[in-house]
Amino acid sequence: MTTVTPVTTTPALVADQPSAAAVAKKKLTSPWASLAAIVIAVLWTLPTFGLLVSSFRPERAIKTTGWWTFFTDPTVTLDNYKTVLDSENGAGLGSFFVNSLVITIPSVIIPMSLACLAAYAFAWIKFPGRNVLFLAIFALQIVPLQVTLIPLLTLYVDAGLANTFWTIWISHSIFGLPLAIYLLHNFMREIPATLLEAARVDGAGHVSIFFRVLLPLLRPALAAFGIFQFLWVWNDLLVALTFAGGGGAVAPITVALANLSGTRGTAWHLLSAGAFVSILVPVTIFLLLQRYFVRGLLAGSVKG
């Protein structure tokens, strides 16, 4: 880049060309580029689409013909979904679905509230050891869960909590805390100090500053962490498998699906419907809160 000057001197030119990037873009958007984009999009969508179509086909049809024959011989049924949810003579995914809900809700609320308190202390209160503690918590983000599982399981068994939801709630809360504190702290630091000073001058204490001044401003950050944690907990297999056991009464839907895939790997009428029962909730949440998810992704992973 030798010449940057022409641009800065000619604002008129920039005004004439609606968007410089768009012009540069045009050169790139040859038919080949469009084709490449379409190929990638199709490759990324087709596998899911195939299983989705299959989940609505009769069991016999799934097992004897490919899903693409659906378009020449369309037969639609909801039997697969009925069977997979039924606990009497099906896979009983319904109760595992309930477990997933029961696991996920507290596992999002608990770390989020605790992280609010901690992030507030780190961002707005001066106390000895602040920087060292914050750095330590930041560093804990990199600890792989695997390192903690066996000793944690022993602790839960000793405490008499084995095979209850408590083990999963507590574990997910602990594992979510470092990221939550980091995200919320970054966000709180950006709130102008004058805003808090003004409240303090008015006689507000820490508690009312937090609830009246900060909480309304924190909503996007809370949404970002909330959706991260929700997806992570709902989709988790490792933690649930370790603490809830394989067929336990408290296992979430991911565990049930993984078991189904292991024991009845060719029961595609159950696997296809089961997969979509488990996908439905996270995808809905994801699409609704996409904006916050992307913002959190950018704040959490790409700083500066």
Binding site: M1, V14, Q17, S19, A21, V23, A24, K27, A36, A37, I40, A41, W44, P47, L51, I62, T64, T65, G66, W67, S95, V102, A115, L117, A121, V143, P144, Q146, V147, T148, I150, N163, T164, F165, W166, W169, I170, S171, F175, L177, H206, L231, W234, N235, L237, L238, A249, V250, S261, G265, W268, L271, A275, S278, I279, F286, L287, Q290, L297, V302
Partner: protein
């Protein structure tokens, strides 16, 4: 309240009880904090806000981490000290060497391919018609669990014996048949099967790469692009000398983040092959050794190895962020 809940009603009751109990704890902390004001009270407020977090992290992360490191020097039952034998097993045993080899495949291939696809797609759809719809197609897999994704792809790889009237129901084999080939048992042949499992991870992670890189591309100042355009730079030159240097920090972060995620993923291997047919990776082997083979020593050593492998990637990541901020 601390028993195993059986019915749906019991489960939800227990859930609300847990949330209430927890809300009470937070309420007590806020009440205590509210009683103290002024500069001297600040210290008490700070520590009481941090107390639950610190206790949970100490008991749930720091202690178990230390304990696992300690445990990795003991035998399968965790009773006899055996020094570095578990680590020796990891680096000499034939099965374990296959695990290491597969892990290398995963960690090298996934970040680069996922980032390349994500970057290419981000550039292709940038400012195109229906850009947000096009992007949603690629990043939707991020919302799907690894288990769900594994089932989706297992169906793509599904194999039916090549005889008589048997028709293929897996897309990949059907495409092969249409092209005149004979169907394969994709998940059985090593090391090809490992790469087919890696495809699933790439499928999930490309959306992450695309989202972050697309934001980085949009953040490039228009005047730089305009200047390059006036210089008559070719599209390739534009990418090579303008776009790529500008988004380099974001590319590094994406590569390292996907690398770390890949190192830790075990759901895909477990759901698709269960680690059979030479497809196991460290994270899966950790689970099998710890909870299936009851070899706590070796399991702990594998977990520690995972931890050790993450550190250089994170260190590199932080150095990159530092140096890009210094510029």
């Amino acid at each position: 309240m601390f028993d195993t809940a059986e019915t749906t009603a019991e489960k939800f009751t227990q859930m609300f009880a847990a949330i209430l109990l927890f809300a009470a704890v937070v309420g007590i902390i806020l009440f205590i904090a509210g009683r103290f004001g002024g500069r001297r009270g600040d210290k008490i407020v700070a520590y009481s806000y941090l107390a639950p977090t610190l206790i949970m992290l100490l008991v749930g992360l720091v202690y178990p981490g230390m304990r696992t490191i300690y445990q990795s020097f003991f035998d399968a039952a965790g009773s006899a000290f055996i020094g570095l034998d578990n680590y020796k097993t990891i680096f000499t045993d034939t099965d374990q060497l296959t695990v290491l080899r597969n892990t290398v495949f995963w960690v090298v291939v996934t970040p680069f391919v996922a980032t390349a696809v994500g970057l290419l797609y981000a550039i292709l759809v940038d400012k195109a018609k229906m850009e947000s719809f096009a992007k949603a197609l690629i990043f939707l897999p991020m919302a799907i669990s690894f288990v769900g994704a594994s089932i989706i792809w297992k169906f793509v790889y599904e194999f039916r014996p090549d005889q008589g009237n048997v028709k293929q129901i897996g897309l990949l084999n059907q495409v092969l048949v249409w092209l005149g080939g004979s169907p394969q048992q994709w998940l059985v042949d090593s090391p090809l099967n490992t790469f087919l499992l890696i495809v699933v991870m790439i499928w999930i992670q490309a959306g992450f790469a695309m989202t972050v890189l697309s934001a980085a591309i949009k953040a490039i100042p228009d005047d730089i692009i305009e200047a390059a355009r006036l210089d008559g730079v070719t599209p390739w030159g534009m990418f090579r000398f303008v776009t790529l240097p500008a988004i380099r920090p974001a590319v590094v972060v994406v590569l390292t983040t996907i690398g770390i995620g890949t190192l830790k993923v075990f759901d895909i291997v477990r759901t698709m092959t269960g680690g059979q047919f030479n497809t196991s990776v460290i994270a899966n082997e950790f689970y099998s050794q710890s909870f299936r083979s009851d070899n706590q020593g070796l399991g702990s050593a594998l977990a520690v190895l995972l931890f050790v492998l993450v550190i250089p990637i994170v260190a590199y990541n932080i150095r990159q962020i530092r140096s890009s901020e210094a510029l």
